[in-house]
Structures are given as C-alpha cells and as structure tokens.
C-alpha cells in the first residue's frame, strides 16, 4: 500500500536517494531540508504519519524534533525513524531515548529501508486510529445494533448498525439528506422526495419501500446508490485524524430500510477478520506466538479444517490452542476472534471441558460450534455456520471432523 513519508534531511544527495527509492516503490515522499520545515509539515492536517528525520540538520535537529513530536498531547501517532551516518551504539541509544521508533544508518540500503518502512506500516496499523474503529465495528456487528460514533474535534461520524449489518453512515459537516443522495437521479425531483418523506412520516414506512413502491427508482438502483454513499462516508470517517471512537449499543429503527453487509461498505483493513490460510499454521492478528506442533498434528489439523469448511452452511472453521488462545489454522473468512476467544477461555477453565460434547454460541447472523479437539496440546475446533444451517447435521459433521 502506498504511504506518505516525510523525509527531512539537509543532505540533498542522501535525501534524493531516499526519495528516488520511496517513489520508485510507489510511495509518496514529502521532502524538507530542515527541522523547522519538518515541524510545520507535521502540524498540517494531512501530515504524513511516517517521518524519516536526519539527526544533524539545521534549525531543529532530528532528536529534538522527535522529542517535540512525542510531547504533542492527543496528536495522532507518528512513526519516527532517525537517519544518521552516526552508527555507534551510544548514538543509536540516544535516538531511541528521544522517542524514535527506528534508527537507520547511512548509507542507506534499498531493501533494508523498504523493509523498515513495512514495519512502520505494520506498527501504525496495529496501534493507529484504525485499530479503535476496527474494534468498534467488530463489537457493533456482533451486537443487536447501535451506533459507532467517531469524533475528531468538531466533526462527528456515525455508523448505524442493525442486526449485524450497516443501515446508515453520516458525517456531521457533510450533506446527508435524501435530496443530496438522490441528486444525481434525473427522474427524481426534490418535490418527489418531499412527498416520500411526508409519506414516511405519516405511515411509518421506510423511504426505500416508498421510493420503490411509487416507481421512482428500482430497488437495485437505490441499493447501488446507497452502497456507494455509505462506503464513501465510512472512508471519510476512517480518515479522521486522532479520533475518539465509541460504540453506543442502542438499537433503533433505521429509516432507510436497506441494510448492507460489512464487506460491501467497510474498507477491508477495518474488518477484524481472522487470517485466511490456504494451508500452514498462522497466528491470529494480535495473538500470541503460535506454538510449535508436531508434523502429525499439523497434518491432522489441515485435514480436519478442510473437511469442516466443506460442511453445508459453513462460513469459517478454525482450531485454537486453549492455553494461549492462538488461532493455529483457519479456513474461510469472517470469524469473530474476540467472541470465540472469550468463550474458549471460560470453557477451558471449567471442570466440565473434558466431558463436553460441544458448546453452541448463537449470534444474530451465525451459530458458532466449539468442540474439544485434542488434549495435548489442549485445542478446540470452532465452526461458524449460517443460522439457517440444520444444527444436528452440522454438529455430527463437526464431530467427524474433530475425529479426523
């Protein structure tokens, strides 16, 4: 993914090399020649979130700049790498003591710099504002309904959930009326829309049903327009700088009448899904390190999961280590990791775990089946199926998979 990187260096040659490297790799480079300019760039609304700062540069040196960055209260986190030809251990320690995340010595080596940039991206993804929004979206989608509210100074974004799906999204200082949304439709006049709104207020119907019933627009067309609209609002909300994010679990009737699956309108990086692994063992995002398993168990896990995901109605299947909660391997897509981990933690503490056949967790969209899988190491197999799936059949099939 392309990122914007601030490069502050008074050495025009080193800065040019770094710029050519970054631009050649598809990134954007914001280049300045002294610490004061760098500080000004970092105060701007669209400031890069990764800064490569030369140690010895005019006006404000890299270490002092790094200290200032770290002292900003409430500011969005900036990943700072100090650039320097100084490469003694004492120099590197001073860099980290000033608050740097990384220390890159000159001369640069292309592959190394790009690898370090990927580390920066990874750190920002796991600690940045997207992290809070991701968690809130996961919480909201697993609940009956409510609002994810995102505030950035005077701007407030709101994503309205109902039954695990998204009903609406709005940004406080942007238009959000039905007239604005349908302004591109030549056959619908503002007069028509006023009529629809009046009808809705009198009858309690939602506007989607009325628009379609009155023949003003087809359901497919309306759905496509709203999908694009909501997607753009969520993208705007996701770009808020240093936001406060809360989930308010207060279900309410949405007036729109159309609902969208998360994958339709939420950027993939904000979906807290388990990793999809074709084969091999993977750790779940944010989870502890995956323990080493024997070849026989590794193979057995693969076979079990390949069979489990083939069960009718299966959405995802995974195996967890009960000691640390690590996801050892997974098939399929969506999996509510927090939900599964919390239930497994409780189950594994219970004296009954060894005698359990399985545990069922019912959410509004899925049914999760958790079943003991192995004793050494203690593992559980988890299957998520659509709610319409015949449960008896799924439980029997999962038991067979667990024994595979």
């Amino acid at each position: 993914m392309a990122v914007r990187v601030l490069v502050a260096d008074d050495d025009v040659f080193s800065a040019s090399v770094l710029e050519a490297l970054l631009v050649g790799a598809g990134h954007e480079c914001v280049r300045v020649a002294d610490g004061r300019e760098a500080w000004a760039v970092l105060q701007s609304p669209e400031a890069p979130r990764i800064a490569f700062l030369d140690w010895m540069m005019p006006e404000v040196d890299g270490l002092e700049l790094c200290r200032r960055i770290r002292e900003r209260p409430g500011a969005e986190y900036v990943y700072v790498a100090i650039l320097s030809a100084r490469n003694k251990q004492r120099d590197i320690t001073l860099g980290f003591q000033a608050g740097a995340d990384d220390f890159i010595t000159k001369p640069y080596h292309g592959d190394e710099v790009l690898a370090r940039l990927r580390v920066a991206e990874r750190v920002l993804r796991s600690t940045g504002p997207g992290h809070g929004l991701r968690r809130a979206i996961a919480e909201a989608s697993a609940s009956g309904g409510g609002d994810v509210i995102v505030r950035c100074q005077h701007r407030v974004g709101r994503i309205i959930f109902q039954g695990g799906r998204i009903a609406w999204a709005h940004v406080s200082d942007e238009p959000g009326s039905l007239v604005a949304i349908l302004s591109g439709e030549p056959d619908i006049s503002p007069y028509d829309i006023r009529g629809v709104i009046e009808e809705c207020s009198v009858t309690g119907e939602n506007f989607a049903d009325v628009l379609v019933a009155w023949g003003l627009i087809s359901q497919e067309r309306l759905r496509a327009i709203l999908r694009t609209w909501i997607r753009s609002k969520i993208a705007t909300i996701a770009a808020f700088t240093a936001p406060e994010v809360i989930f308010s679990p207060e279900a309410r009737a949405a007036s729109g009448g159309l609902f969208f699956e998360l994958a339709e309108v939420v950027p993939p990086e904000l979906l807290q899904a388990a990793p999809v692994a074709a084969s091999g063992l993977r750790g779940a995002p944010g989870g502890p390190a995956v323990p080493k398993l024997g070849e026989a168990l590794t193979q057995r896990i693969r076979v079990s999961l390949d069979r489990a995901i083939a069960i009718d109605g299966a959405r995802s299947a995974a195996i967890f280590d009960l000691r640390g909660g690590q996801c050892l391997d997974v098939r399929g897509g969506w999996l509510d990791l927090d939900l599964v981990r919390s239930k497994l933690r409780l189950a594994s503490l219970s004296d009954l775990w060894d005698d359990l056949e399985d545990i069922m967790i019912s959410t509004r969209r899925h049914i999760y089946l958790l079943r003991p899988y192995s004793k050494d190491p203690p593992c559980s197999i988890v299957l998520a199926v659509d709610r319409a799936t015949p449960l008896g059949m799924a439980r029997r099939a999962l038991a067979e998979c667990a024994g595979a």
Partner: protein, 122 residues
C-alpha cells in the same frame, strides 16, 4: 588507487539502477571543493562546530553516493574535529586532495558510462 578502490561498487550499481548517476554525481563533484573550502574557512575563524557539521554532511553524501574512499577520509577528519583537533594535519597533507581528485575522476567516468548506456538504449 584504482576506480574500484575509490568507489563502493555495489552502491554505485544501485545508483545506476535508481537512475541517479547523471543527476547527482556531477553536482556532487562540482560541490566537493566548495564544501571543503567552507570547512577550511570555518576552521580558520575557529568555528569548529560549523566545520564539524559540514564535514559530517559531506561524509554522509559521499558514502550514500558510493564514494567510499572519500567517505573514509572524511570520517577520519570528522573524528579528529569531534575530538577537538584542528584538522589542519588532514587538510595540510596531500591525502585529501588526492582522494578528492581520484573520486571526482571516478564519478565522472560513471557519469560517462551512464550517458553512453542511455544513448545506446535510445
């Protein structure tokens, strides 16, 4: 000193790959003498810290462009200045002048090679 000893081959090849040889080397070669003159002037008026900053920056540039022999000599000069020495011995000797001359010649040759390569490719 041969061209191979004056330049770090891997770094120079990387500069060719990035397409920076024709863009950066001529400016560096033109600026080296001017930069060293500025260091001398700073030392002459006792501005040790300013001289140190200039040498440090020039050393970084040289290393980044693959002028490894020059970078080594400048590192010694930087170390001497950091230790409080005047750096006059290094400036007085012929070593620095020789390295600058050899480096400049080697970098110019790289520019010619890059230009020829570009023309050959059309």
């Amino acid at each position: 000193m041969s061209r191979a000893e004056v330049l770090d081959r891997a770094t120079v090849e990387w500069m060719h790959q990035l397409g920076l040889v024709e863009r950066l080397y001529p400016a560096f070669v033109e600026g080296v003498s001017e930069q060293l003159a500025a260091v001398r002037s700073a030392l002459a008026v006792g501005e040790q810290a300013a001289a140190l900053r200039l040498v440090h920056r020039l050393r970084g540039s040289a290393a980044q462009l693959g002028a490894s022999a020059l970078a080594r000599v400048l590192a010694e000069l930087e170390e001497a200045l950091a230790q409080g020495a005047g750096g006059h011995e290094l400036f007085a000797g012929a070593a620095l002048c020789e390295v600058v001359a050899e480096t400049s010649a080697a970098l110019r040759a790289e520019v010619e090679a890059a230009r020829a390569d570009r023309l050959t490719r059309g």
